[in-house]
Symmetry: C2
Subunit: 325 residues, 2 copies
């Protein structure tokens, strides 16, 4: 079998990944925790064929060249090395959500690619090895391999840096209401951003205090304690953006409407609506809430000027093979 | 003589003061650097009279009670202790700029009060002692005593924590173009905010790296190197706000228009307009530039939605006695 297709969800980080100990291997400076986003997905078909002269890659039916193709091809090199084969591949990928707007499209992309490519070339990798492999393409992709609520154990080397499920999707009915503020590509991609983390005077303090936040977040998820989750999730998001905006050069991912929402959500919570915000490396604001409050959160977000649309996602499953189209 | 009047300017910090080693004495955790703001001022008249039963305080002709009066009265207690007198006082103060909107009205207020009250009660304090005295009312007031470009030496105790002139106003023709976004009082005053600084996981890293920024800022001022000033001023502002937004509770002083301006100004600079931003504990954005670019900066700020007005100020003199009205 030389062809396989797979599907993976993006994820939203509750405890953020920002900065690597090893940039080439994407070994992170700290562990991170996330939730997969059901409903949003990348679907990827990989076909290896000894007769292909080069790798090819289409995204949403558009042939990719340059950096986009290069990144996929370098990832396929890792898969080829693992399999001991030098076949080139045709990769066709499609997202059902806007690319590059802070919904971590690279996470879903490399998780789906890891599953499809490893299967197509004949490797039989377990979840941990798939997660470690996906990590090579995009750090946060390691978290889109396991299902539900996921923790990426930072590890020390290529084989022990992978993600595991903390709790399955059905454990907690959280909804991520994503206020989309921009649908264009972000100015500085995460891969470049990670390289700048160490230039902030604050990064080491963020890393040094991360273990305690990971523990608070794990406990909040296990005990389904929304208030505890809210306080650590907002703090950790602010800490990552604090590092970003004090790096050299400074990275500002926030838009005016991001601030508007970041100021509104804690007020909603104080007045009894359980909701908290978090932002990845983009302007979109992810507002988490229990499912029975999602309609209210969504309607409040939709009327804020600057919000283009609101996407909602429940906790999603892991990356998996799908039937051929 | 039992009556004296004095005038003092607010100041804008280039290197910020946030967090105390000693909250009661307002001994700061780090040194700071600022520029006095000519044109904006507080004018204060103090009259001590043995026949008064209580202190009274009017601000902009409005009699003050409660916390406002209490803070003035506690400051007068320090002056009375220094002078060995227990006379009560009548204090009349007026600002020519909006109060509580992040233009550090307390800095000008306590600098003017320190000069007027010490003179009225018969003390003869030199600039250092006046600066240390003003510090007791509001930390940043210590920087409104000396003229021009000023550094507050943090010190270790009540007598060695005071500010000195780094360079007189005429040394450099910088203009502070203040984009006023709100004219109402801020939610969390600086005095309360300082108490929260230690609750941020980032405060120690900000303090630990401050010496290097003070040195960069001093050198930039001495050599009138605007590019060097711009990079350290924006970084230091972002560092303070990073601490604020990661304290417990989180303090967000920024408004949507603050972000708009913070993103625009570095782009202006990249395209050749020398300007940099800094924000104190409020939403207003102070955009610094050499005088011959102030008209352009001002006109660009005025058309940004959310900007109510733009005030401009050159480097101002120190606090000083004025003739009786």
């Amino acid at each position: 079998m030389t062809t396989a297709t797979a599907l993976a969800h993006p994820n939203i980080a509750f405890i953020k990944y920002w900065g690597n100990r090893d940039d080439a291997l994407r070994i992170p400076q700290n562990g991170s925790i996330s939730m997969n986003l059901a409903g949003l997905h990348t679907h990827t078909r990989v076909c290896f064929d000894p007769s292909y002269a080069v790798d090819s890659f289409t995204l949403n039916n558009l042939p990719q060249t340059g950096a986009g193709l290069e990144r996929v091809s370098q990832f396929l090199d890792i898969v080829r090395t693992l399999a001991g084969k030098n076949w080139k591949a045709q990769v066709e990928s499609a997202n059902n959500f806007p690319t590059g707007a802070g919904i971590a499209s690279s996470a879903a992309a490399f998780a789906a690619l890891a599953v499809a490519a490893s299967q197509a070339i004949g490797l039989d990798l377990d979840e941990r090895r798939l997660s470690a492999l996906a990590r090579r393409g995009s750090g946060s992709a390691s978290r889109s391999i396991p299902a539900g609520y996921v923790e990426w154990l930072p590890g020390n080397n290529d084989s022990d840096s992978y993600a595991v499920t903390l709790a399955p999707p059905a454990h907690w009915d959280l909804v991520d209401c994503i206020a989309v503020l921009k649908e264009t590509h972000k100015l500085t991609g995460s891969s470049e951003g990670h390289l700048l983390a160490g230039s902030s005077p604050l990064q080491q303090a963020r890393i040094g205090s991360c273990g305690e936040r990971l523990q608070r977040c794990r406990r909040a998820i296990i005990s389904r304690d929304f208030d505890a989750l809210a306080s650590v999730v907002e703090l950790d998001s602010n800490l990552m953006h604090a590092v970003m905006m004090t790096s050299n050069p400074a990275l500002f991912y926030w838009e005016p409407a991001s601030i508007e929402i970041m100021k509104a959500v804690p007020e909603w919570r104080q007045s009894g609506l359980p909701a908290c915000y978090t932002l990845d490396a983009g302007p979109n604001v992810h507002v988490l809430c229990p499912a029975d409050h999602a309609a209210v959160v969504r309607s409040r977000l939709e009327i804020i000027p600057g919000v283009l649309q609101v996407l909602t996602a429940t906790a999603g499953g892991g990356a998996h093979l799908t039937a051929e189209d």
